[in-house]
């Protein structure tokens, strides 16, 4: 069928920030297809210059209202790397708990509130209230609350943590609080299994689309890497030289976007839950593995829509992982530790963590007085923009004969599968004066 039509979605809803989809078809041929990022840049890296080492975390936490814990941890790791600060085992465990809490917060928000409406054919989560889905919705709200309360307990605040500081934590939860959390998490695990069955019953509504691409995430011999690990790619294997991350994450600029794009071995790569699964699925905890099996997930999975499902799998993993860490903390007794003392010295430090949307890098250079002289942050959503574009280019020919509304819906659903955090990603603007 040859026809002319154009789709112009300004802006895609149920994602963080503002992005547009432009599709122009003439005589059944695609003339233009673009994933455009139109938000104003935010200049966080410039704001860090001249700031003291102990302010960098507080400032960069504000890059994102969803991944504020992840930005805090990447920031602390970079600062501690530059200053040669070694954290205690208790701090390491509590930071693992913080990572799990944030992953849970973000994933349940995305799967439960932003993605499920696509599967049920409604515009948002609100029309589902009071319908036959009310019970499932209530379960999702409970899981979101659990993740919020866990962040609150470990980090001192639901978003924009206050307890995470250079060298440690300013306060730790008590054993009683940890045991209460353990009880809530155990209940949460059961609720999540029930939610997984509900998602399974409608997951067939995700398009059956695959495109081979490269996946990049942290990997570790010890665990399913989130807080710690080395950079790895499904194409090129492990890259232990973390300070040269720029050789892997090659950022570049395109005219239709205020956000950087990135590539490595191919034209584009993907980061996030699906990338982590594709590299590290063997290290998932047992029940998370069961949930992955329930959806028939196997690495390497090339369907970007499955990112939604892996987020649910990771939610289960995060609960199981947290239960293990709580047992260790309680067995050994929570110690009243002070953050490690800091001796100022000039140097460069790089901190890399996995946040809900993928691999995140903070890179700081400090001078003798502990002031930041240079900063670079590589944001997961930046790294996904090119892959979204390439996916669209491959996906549209497969659905081009469908009605326009359906094409529009499918493209929006594709963008949402990446769970993009657009405001985080717009930190660059190439201003040319002529």
């Amino acid at each position: 069928m040859t026809r002319d039509f154009s789709i112009n979605i300004e802006h895609v809803t149920r994602v963080e920030g503002h992005g547009n989809i432009v599709l122009d078809v003439k005589n059944g041929e695609i003339k233009k297809i673009e994933w455009q990022i139109s938000e104003a840049p935010r200049f966080f890296e410039a704001m860090l210059r001249g700031r003291n080492y102990d302010e960098l975390r507080t400032i960069t936490s504000r890059i994102c209202g969803i991944c504020s814990i992840g930005h805090s941890l990447a920031s602390l790791k970079a600062t501690e790397d530059a200053l040669g600060v070694k954290i205690s085992e208790q701090t390491r465990i509590l930071r693992h708990l913080a990572t799990n809490a944030e992953n849970m917060q973000s994933h349940i928000l995305h799967v439960g509130y932003l993605s499920i409406p696509d599967l049920l054919g409604v515009d948002s989560v609100f029309p589902l209230v009071g319908t036959k889905h009310n019970d499932s919705l209530l379960k999702i709200v409970r899981l979101h609350r659990l993740a919020n309360e866990m962040s609150d307990l470990v980090c001192g605040r639901t978003i924009h943590p206050i307890r995470l500081v250079v060298g440690g934590l300013s306060a730790a939860p008590s054993e009683k609080q940890l045991l209460d959390l353990k009880k809530d998490l155990a209940e949460g695990l059961e609720i999540t299994k029930e939610v997984a069955y509900v998602v399974k019953s409608v997951a067939g509504n995700f398009p059956d689309f695959e495109r081979e691409t490269e996946y990049i995430a942290l990997t570790s011999d010890k665990e399913y890497a989130l807080y710690d690990g080395i950079i790895a790619s499904t194409d090129t294997g492990k890259h232990p030289d973390y300070k040269n991350y720029e050789k892997i994450m090659k950022e570049y600029f395109v005219p239709h976007s205020t956000a950087f794009h990135a590539k490595h071995y191919r034209d584009s790569y993907m980061v996030g839950a699906l990338a982590r699964f594709n590299l590290n699925s063997k290290q998932l905890h047992p029940i998370a593995k069961e949930v992955a099996d329930m959806f028939g997930l196997k690495p390497i999975n090339y369907n970007p829509f499955m990112n939604n499902i892996v987020q649910l799998v990771e939610f289960v993993h995060n609960i199981e992982d947290s239960l293990n860490w709580i047992d260790i903390l309680v067995d050994e007794g929570v110690k009243d530790e002070k953050p490690k003392e800091v001796k100022l010295k000039a140097g460069r430090g790089v901190g890399i963590v996995e946040v809900p949307r993928g691999i995140l890098v903070h890179d700081y250079t400090l001078n003798d007085n502990g002031k930041c002289t240079k900063a670079n942050c590589v944001i997961p959503t930046n790294q996904n923009h090119a892959n979204i574009q390439k996916d669209m280019e491959a996906f549209v020919p497969q659905i081009i004969d469908k009605p326009e509304k359906e094409i529009e819906f499918n493209l929006e659903m594709l963008v949402r599968a990446y769970d993009p955090c657009i405001s985080c990603s717009t930190h660059y603007l190439d201003v040319k004066f002529v």
């Binding site: 928000l109 609100f126 919705l137 979101h144 309360e149 978003i159």
Partner: protein
Amino acid sequence: MKKIGVIGIGNPLRKDDGIGIVLLEKLVEIKDDLPDNIEYIDGGTGGINLLHLFARFDIVVFIDAVNFGGEIARSKFFNSEDVISKNIQIKISSHGSNILKIIQLSKKLGENPDEIFIFGVQPKDMKPGTRLSYEIQENIDLLVNNLKVELKNVMENIK
């Protein structure tokens, strides 16, 4: 004893929109004069997280900049039930999701507090900026007093 939550809402970086947070902080300063079953919460710019913030209370009082068509810096105490059922046209919260929508969601989910009130202050200017407008700044003490009276009335009625 009933659990009461007083939740300040607003963005202090948008001038008068920050009044909810300013009044909350003033209340915390004088909390010894108020009953001790009240918990004071900075709800920030709200959003869906409000749903979790107020589910654990029996009674909730939101403090926020509300455009109810009144004189600048005047306050008004609304029962959320009245606002919803009588479809009173007010504009609450400049940031994203509307409190009323969240209240309705909480109700339909069956986990809403028994009563939800809104202490609204008529703003003048909600453009970016960190200072309250002059009229509101001048009336802070009066507003704190009005709020205190309303809170005491709420407490009287549940006795």
